[in-house]
Homo-oligomer: 702 residues x 2
């Protein structure tokens, strides 16, 4: 299938100052966990975007000085010449693929905790960060302003020396330039505070100085937040952002336009739960109206139609992407070749973001198991070697996220035949019903992508509506068997907080329910008053609370944790989730654990005072306590022993996904992918070692 001509606009080159972008696909700065300290991981990851057709790829936010140290979070850094060496590798690899390399110069101001450098960050006014706990800046005087501007200039020169084509003076997500621009952070009474002209002064001067330093050799980009959604005290489009664009338009080669501050940056890196693709377009379009320079912007764009329309309608010149380029590094190539249905679309779950928020781990992606595995495991998202044992048949039992991914990759690795056995009529496993929770519809893309791919693979066949027992597996005729039978929510209240079931918790009773019973089984929820016990702390408890409250139930949500759904802080979903639950009058009770359940009644205790009991009138109790692997089939087969399996022709028996241990969908997809990538290794059950991209001491001893 050829490319639709209406998408040709996406492939027109465009000038960015002294540089030329080969098309309209641009990976804007986003974190991946590599920073400057894992230089190979950084370079390989960005280069994969270039190989996949992106015209430019950028670092994450890149600290210009130890005063802007975000540890425990991982940023790139251009503090010294060794950082130049490390980031030059990324530039070289991008250039090999014909892409531009961008770097986002970052000074955090009030938001840089400096836990590694132990420096004191500087900011327009002495207000503690509304994002980083207990982080206070020094209030800048004129000398401070000159010095910090000097840091920008020095870092820009290092960036040029490393080979970067595009140098950002980053001013969104509430970092320093936005702090100066915005009354929330800027309480100054001198010429750097007060009027628009004064609030804009620091940023304008800094852009001037950076342009002066490197502007003939590099394009100067500015990332600007156009609205903080805070009213008068926040950054505002008409009052602040548009005048600023006009003020410095002659100095800037590229405008990277987004929204939000940092304390609620889920307004920018929008979870699909709350926002559809392109939510920033109205703001981006307004900037387009006032600038003469190209505008790039994100919007979690995965549809070529939407992208082309954004350009044709004059809202954007260049399609920016973070998450869609993570989910599919080859998105531009696939559009270029008209392979639209091969696009692995971002689901907007923000698991990638969560790892930055946690600080330290590499980013991961629910859809793309190869993300951040390009260097350390040598995985390419689109290239697959033929398995050395491809002359075998594989039976994959269970077509959930892990099973689908494993079957698909085994198919791409050329296994003779792959049968994907599924008890239900459709593939998907838990991802058949999780997308039915409020707001999670886009998560169904996990199934859609794999269904399409598997349909295309001649050597992979879905066998639906078929439940296999051990005997059926033994007699199936496949040499390799992969069990991917998933997990289930405990029906008896078993949980990690007490490690025991809860008295009276029995989901065979009418008034006790599990998530599957509600979402799949159609079990009726008796009465009006529902108590939900959430020992999980991610999306299930709050999603069911929202669903049941929306359906008119009076919902009480108990958790033994100190906060409800703490993981959703990391996915940036929590603030709007709490707003929603509050508006639905869900009664949230923290530090509470159920002691017992009876018809019509549940009793909880305070986790720091077990004698302190509370009785709840409860027509129904929903148990979100813990999950357990569905491992019966695997156990039965494995316990037969290797000899018995071999006598039936089975040379390999493995299990993956929730069947091994209940995990996030991203981890299940990874698990299925990993097994398929290593199905011809000496012991496929054990992951092969990966390159750790670390310093190694020379042994001095003999």
């Amino acid at each position: 299938m050829a490319r639709d001509p209406k998408h040709d606009v996406l492939f027109e080159p465009i000038r960015i100052g002294p540089k030329t972008l080969r098309n309209r696909f641009y990976q804007v700065p986003h974190c991946n966990g590599a920073g400057s300290e894992k230089p190979n991981a950084q370079a390989w990851n960005r280069a994969m975007r270039a190989e996949g057709g992106w015209g430019a790829s950028c670092t994450e936010y890149c600290s210009i000085h130890p005063e802007s140290d975000d540890t425990m979070r991982i940023s790139a850094r251009l503090w010294d010449e060794d950082d130049v060496r490390n980031l030059s590798l990324m530039c070289d690899k991008l250039h090999e693929h014909g892409a531009l390399a961008g770097v986002e110069l970052w000074y955090g101001g009030a938001h840089a905790p400096c836990m590694e450098s132990r420096c004191v960050p500087r900011a327009p006014s002495q207000l503690p960060s509304d994002f980083e706990h207990l982080t206070y800046p020094k209030e800048m005087d004129k000398d401070d302003i000159r010095e910090v501007q000097g840091f920008y200039v020095a870092a820009a020169r290092r960036a040029r020396s490393a080979g970067f084509d595009i140098v950002y003076v980053y001013g969104s997500h509430s970092y320093l330039p936005q702090q100066f621009l915005t009354p929330f952070y800027n309480k100054r009474t001198d010429e750097y505070g007060g009027s628009f002209e004064n609030r804009a002064r620091f940023w304008r001067e800094t852009i001037e100085q950076v342009r002066e330093a490197v502007g003939d050799d590099c394009a100067i980009a500015v990332r600007i937040s156009t609205d903080m959604f805070m009213g008068e005290i926040g950054t505002q489009l008409e009052r602040d952002a548009l005048p600023f664009v006009e003020l410095v338009d002659n100095l800037v080669d590229l405008w990277d336009v987004n929204v939000s501050g940092i304390s609620e940056w889920g307004e920018d890196a929008t979870p699909s739960r709350f926002y559809e693709s392109g939510r920033q377009l109205p703001w981006q379009g307004r900037v387009k109206q006032v600038t003469k320079k190209p505008v790039v912007g994100v919007g979690r764009f995965t549809s070529a139609d939407v992208m082309a329309e954004a350009i044709r309608s004059g809202k954007l010149d260049i399609i920016g992407a973070c998450r869609p380029s993570i989910s599919d590094p080859f998105l531009p190539t696939k559009i270029s070749e008209g392979r639209y249905d091969d696009i692995r679309e971002c689901i907007g779950c923000n698991i990638c973001v969560s790892r930055w928020e946690i600080g330290g781990p590499p980013a991961v992606c629910t859809q793309n198991a190869t993300f951040m595995e390009e260097y350390r495991r040598g995985w390419h998202p689109e290239k697959f070697t033929k398995a050395e044992n491809a002359d075998n048949d594989v039976l994959v039992v269970g077509a959930g996220p892990a099973g689908m991914e494993c079957a698909m990759i085994l198919g791409k690795r050329g296994m003779r035949r792959v049968h994907l056995l599924e008890a239900e009529k459709e593939m998907g496993g838990i991802m058949r019903w999780i997308p039915l929770l409020p707001g999670l519809g886009e998560w169904a893309r996990v199934v859609n992508y794999r269904k399409i791919q598997i349909d295309k693979l001649k050597n992979v066949e879905l066998i639906p509506s078929t439940r296999a027992d051990a005997n059926a597996v033994l007699k199936y005729g496949a040499e390799i068997v992969v069990i991917a039978t998933g997990a289930y929510w405990a029906t008896n209240g078993l949980n990690g907080a007490t490690s025991e079931p809860i008295p009276g918790a029995d989901a065979s009773l009418p008034h006790v329910l599990t998530p599957e019973q509600i979402m799949v089984g159609g079990k009726e929820i008796p009465g009006e008053r529902v108590v939900i016990l959430d020992n999980d702390g991610y999306f299930m408890g709050v999603s069911l609370a929202e669903k049941l409250a929306t359906e008119g139930k009076q919902v009480t949500l108990l958790t033994h944790l100190g906060e409800v759904a703490p993981y959703m802080k990391f996915t940036l979903e929590l603030p709007n989730m709490l707003r929603k639950l509050h508006s639905l009058h869900v009664n949230i009770v923290t530090h509470a654990m159920l002691q017992s359940i009876e018809p019509g009644r549940a009793v909880s205790y305070h986790v720091f005072d077990p004698e302190h009991l509370t009785e709840w009138d409860a027509d129904a109790v929903v148990l979100i306590t813990q999950r357990r692997s569905n491992e019966a089939l695997y156990r039965e087969l494995k316990d037969l022993g290797t000899d018995a399996l071999r006598s039936e022709g089975i040379i390999g028996l493995y299990r993956i996904g929730d069947c091994l241990a209940p995990r996030m969908v991203a981890d299940c997809v990874f698990d299925g992918h990993r097994l398929a990538r290593e199905i011809d290794s000496p012991d496929p059950a054990v992951p092969k070692p990966f390159l750790r991209d670390r310093k190694v001491i020379e042994l001095l001893r003999a």
Copy 2:
């Protein structure tokens, strides 16, 4: 002053299996943030303990396999030969100083989130971690048990190859061996679960195998938790720990005895707020009664009398230390030389622990600013070079933590005269009154240590009861001026959450109070009903709530955060703090911010629904909103300009500590220390670069 002969027992060598410990001082495994990935930082830090007289120094917990990956937290690792190289540096340096090197082999079971390796950890039963959020293990079958035991053996061999003298089979803090031993984690019905013999089997076998592998070359140590304080379901001393000691006593060379699990490991790494030194002695003494092998154990010991008595009374053979060895690496040397009053005693604030809990940053210490700076900044805790500009006088204005530290280090660096000017009668700054908060008495050691040291320094003089204005400073006659005038709590409700004052917040009124007014000023708190607003989230809000509730007030504690005092999770103080506030009937309200204050009344709003107001009857409102630097004196001097200062003979003007930006005491001490260390650098105001102990790519380009 000579050593008291009753302390001689601390300096008797003792056999640990095939090795000899030169004395009774032993740095047990504890984290420092270096792991295996920052090998120089790791080696220099541990070697400083050896240089300071500790007979042994150990790694932190050391992962034996990628399945036990604690990222975002930092552990040591012995996954491969490159890890061997990196950790061998530590061993070599310890041996140079005559100390033994220990390594704590660690497999986390249910508690290892594996966010870097993406492996699945294995555990006795499939229960999600009660510590690491959303972390599920695979339930081990017999093959799993054999494989994981094989990981221990392989790692032990690597440890031997790296040069370690002592190899731990670590089984406390709820990690894998303790999980097998303990009913909370072990629900098995096979020969590895149920009876004591069965629950002990995994650990016994593992110790046997490690001993078999390396036991002639290395001493085998076991760290065992003797009580989880959970009743029947937790580890118990008499039922589990003592029988286990007896069971494997012949295989073990050293018992490292502590208490607790991991979910409340503040019961072991005890904050001074809740426990005095030596709280583990009763458990350690019981183990001593049943073992023939030496027993080491921690107890936050800083007193030589207490240490010697612990040995003489038969409770311990060897004094274990984490925090006291962080606070003073030279504690053994100082005892040995009878320099008791030179000991820099741990205050039990657990800031060191907090950085491990946060995950990523190097550990820091309130008392010892040189901790983890041994390699990267080349700082030695006891050695100081004479400053190149020592022929100058220094005036330090303000004798708080930063000022005291700075004056002391400047004195040790041989400055001609250092005058430490203090407005109050005594030195200490905020540390004069913070230790008066409930439970924080030991924090006064920050002042005591520095007072004693300064008293000894002939070139440093405290000038008390003297408040200097700019003119007085100008005329003082010192060439170098350091302003350390601290910070104060905002009196008008200014805060980082809204960046504005709160209407009606005016601490000049009788019903509105700041922490200083209560603790220092003696301002009376009117009435019974007190509303405390905590926008800070560390110790001040909850401490005042405890104090006022204890004094009989009805206390409501509001915070805009989702949890009260979230930083106290990291210092391990939160669970017992919440128990205490609960027992005192303090009403905690989260996600609440004050809208206005009037006499007798305060109105709060829900931060996710500003229209949702709550009225509080409030006879008094306490504002813990934000701090501001006391920078007036510094500003006045600096704004005179360099020429004006020079005309008065002042060649350097600096500011440090809270006067620069309000911070934790640890950071203020560091700041004062840093300036003094670098007072003769080209620009003392700017910290010199530090070595980053990282991988650097060779530049391939010309």
